[in-house]
Amino acid sequence: MLNQLKTAKDLGTPGIFLSLTRIPLTERLIVGSSDAKLYEYDFAAEKTEALAYGEGHASYVTGVAWTTGGIVSGAYDGKVIWWDMTTRQAIRTVDAHAKWVRRVHASPDGKIVVSIADDMLAKVWDAESGKLLHTLGGHEPITPHHYPSMLYAAAFSPDGKLLATGDKVGHIVIWNVDTGAKVTTVESPGMYTWDPKQRRHSIGGIRSLAFSRDGKTLAVGGVGNIGNIDHLDGPARVELFDWQAAKSLKVLEDNKFKGLVEQLWFSPNDQWLVTSGGDNNGFVTIYDVATQQIPHQEKGHQHIHAMVGSESGNKIFTAHHGRLIAWSLTTDSATA
């Protein structure tokens, strides 16, 4: 039973931290920032300092992932850059996308990396050689209301064989990573709010995806229907799917801590689903996967844009608007 979620380390930062990865088996975090830079922080060090990466990007760094070929980042400048983790200098720069790169994710073994962007393409790369393996379409560039769509979210399955991509209007495609073939599609339209009368534009979209550790369930994160789309004043929304049957299993909406579910993370034993995001304020909300109840949730310092968990599942790290936080998760068994 989860009985504690508390801040273990809290670091104020000057910028908006939009993306986050962790070097395996360490607490070395690499964040992507609104100042077009990457920074490394070692949370295990007695004194945690920012180590800046070199020049490379020209806009918000919205994706960063540890891979066996180095750190890979993506930004709103459309570039995907490989970085040497020791020198923190760029070793390969690719003009990968015609529009904003929204996220970069690595497969669980770190050998494959995917970049997704508002050109509505997911590009699958060999993390070590930088070779482009697949270019995956499958998402419409224009919404049903005639505005540009966005490709916000992606996730690898735990075995690395599948990739899910999710867009603004709630369309999800599951891909075979080896072949680049489309496996199936899933729809979660409740993540997209179009206001046809009051404000006449849209908000929302699928902002996060995660496969359960057993690979059977796909969790989809975003925000539910918003009345006043000037703000992120809608329920933090998670929809769980039996993706193989393309069947919605459950919609979880939280109105206590509202806004976008930017991140989803299944604990190692699939016991908990940790979600984070927010409106102006941030939140970390933990669902018990079996009961779908919330055993614990905490308000975070401002909006949380990115989150990673530790191998053991007893720590998560969150990147905020102006803050970087390590949280400890403890269970009855751990404290007994």
Binding site: S34, P148, R200, H201, L232, D279, N280, G282, H303
Partner: protein, 432 residues
């Protein structure tokens, strides 16, 4: 009476009194049936109508568009947001990358980057930017549309002088003619794009309607014969005006446009409304306001602007091209304006909030020196550092661009009320 010029300043656009009267007569004939728009294809007629009339299309960006994501980008600044600045067709002038089509047409547009209007409340800011007045005059003041309708409208016009479209419900404001009276109030279109209640009653047949009109005209002429009475003339004019409005229904119907033209404007409501605005201007309406609501992006500013600025860029560029192709751009002033801009600071929802201290507007077409940029904000966009502009200054510039003396006065009884707010004047360097 203050001299009023109706021309953009070029000698090519001068027109003789005889020519003007001839055109007026033609316009009266035109009034008989406004549905036959192809009459504008007659070169001589079209050219004369175009020469004598100036127009405004106000694109009202309701809720407050971000100057940083449109006309005054600050790439690289902490406040700049993620969008780049791009070069335009005018060397040295850069605007947001969200407006590539307008960037390619920058030679038609002047930018004002230094509005400091000090009122970041929706209602108060809107009232100020609608009327151009920062100071309460103690009486309801006319908005820009009503003042332009008063200045540029023709007494014998069969079409409305002022049409205002505001379809979204958030922040919807009708505008008003204030002390100028209901004659200059807008024909206001909210839920529908075609005016209600201007159709002939079903119970009255077309022939019956026509015969009633002929009988009324016959009786009116006989009654007026030998009577030099303004009231009689006014009464007849009002009837003609109603008759004109009744036959103007098709002006509001985009289905009347070729599919190719509709496709150019695109499928959005804003695109359709701007196409209607062009049709209205072409038919002689002096002032058309198209409100595009709602820009109030407290959360997800960049996502919202990706949608709305992309649409603005496409639709406004199409409008510029369309007016230019028809020879109307030099007689039509397109304005982008809202109640305020948005904060340089980016909040935790990646939003921008209300901001009236350093924001932007644009003026394209008639009377404007295209490519000109007026005013400057500091490197983060927090304040105006050069060429501060008040609402009244912008309005004075609009008046002068249209050939209306910005110093002229209205009179409410013995009380003079200047058309331009006290202490304000035009930005001469962006006038042609």
């Amino acid at each position: 009476m203050t001299h009023r010029s109706y021309f953009c300043g070029s000698p090519d656009h001068g027109v003789s009194r005889r020519g003007f009267l001839g055109t007026a007569a033609a316009a009266s004939a035109f009034a008989a049936d406004m549905t036959h728009l192809d009459v504008l294809q007659t070169p001589l007629f079209a050219s004369e109508v175009k020469k004598q009339q100036k127009h405004v299309i106000l694109l009202w960006l309701a809720g407050g568009a971000s100057q940083l994501e449109t006309w005054d980008p600050k790439p690289g600044a902490p406040t700049g947001g993620p969008f780049r600045a791009i070069n335009t067709s005018v060397p040295g002038v850069a605007i947001s990358e969200l407006m590539p089509k307008l960037a390619a047409r920058m030679e038609h547009t002047a930018i004002v980057r230094s509005l400091n209007t000090r009122n970041a409340d929706h209602g108060g800011g809107a009232l100020m930017m609608e009327t151009g007045r920062a100071v309460d005059q103690g009486i309801p003041c006319p908005d820009l549309g009503a003042m332009i309708a008063h200045e540029l409208g023709r007494a014998d016009s069969p079409v409305p002088d002022y049409v205002s479209m505001y379809s979204s419900t958030e922040g919807r404001r009708k505008g008003g003619s204030g002390f100028l009276g209901s004659r200059y109030a807008p024909m206001f279109l909210a839920e529908q794009t075609i005016p209600e209640n201007i159709r002939r009653l079903e119970a009255v047949s077309d022939i019956d309607h026509q015969q009633r009109q002929e009988l009324r005209t016959f009786l009116a002429k006989r009654f007026a014969n030998g009577r030099m009475d303004n009231t009689v003339a006014s009464q007849n004019m009002a009837y003609e005006r109603v008759r004109g409005l009744m036959t103007s229904e098709k002006l509001f119907d985009v289905e009347q446009e070729p599919a190719e033209m509709r496709a150019k404007y695109g499928p959005t409501q804003f695109g359709e409304q701007c196409l209607i605005a062009r049709r209205l201007v072409e038919a002689g309406v002096p002032f058309v306001k198209v409100a595009r609501a709602w820009w109030d992006s407290h959360g997800q500013n960049f996502e919202t602007h990706l949608e709305l600025v992309t649409e603005l860029d496409h639709v406004m560029s199409t409008l510029i091209d369309d007016l230019k192709d028809r020879g109307l751009l030099e007689h039509t002033l397109i304005i982008t304006l809202g109640e305020f801009g948005r904060t340089p600071g980016i909040n935790a929802s990646l939003g921008r909030d209300h901001f009236a201290s350093a924001w932007s507007s644009s003026l394209s077409g008639c009377g404007i020196k295209g490519g000109a940029v007026w005013g400057k904000t500091d490197e983060d966009g927090h304040k105006v550092i050069d060429g501060e502009v008040k609402a009244g200054d912008l309005f004075a510039t609009v008046f002068e661009a249209l050939g209306v003396d910005h110093k002229r006065e209205f009179h409410i009884g013995a009380r003079p009320i200047p058309i331009t707010d006290f202490g304000c004047g035009p930005i001469k360097s962006i006038l042609a």
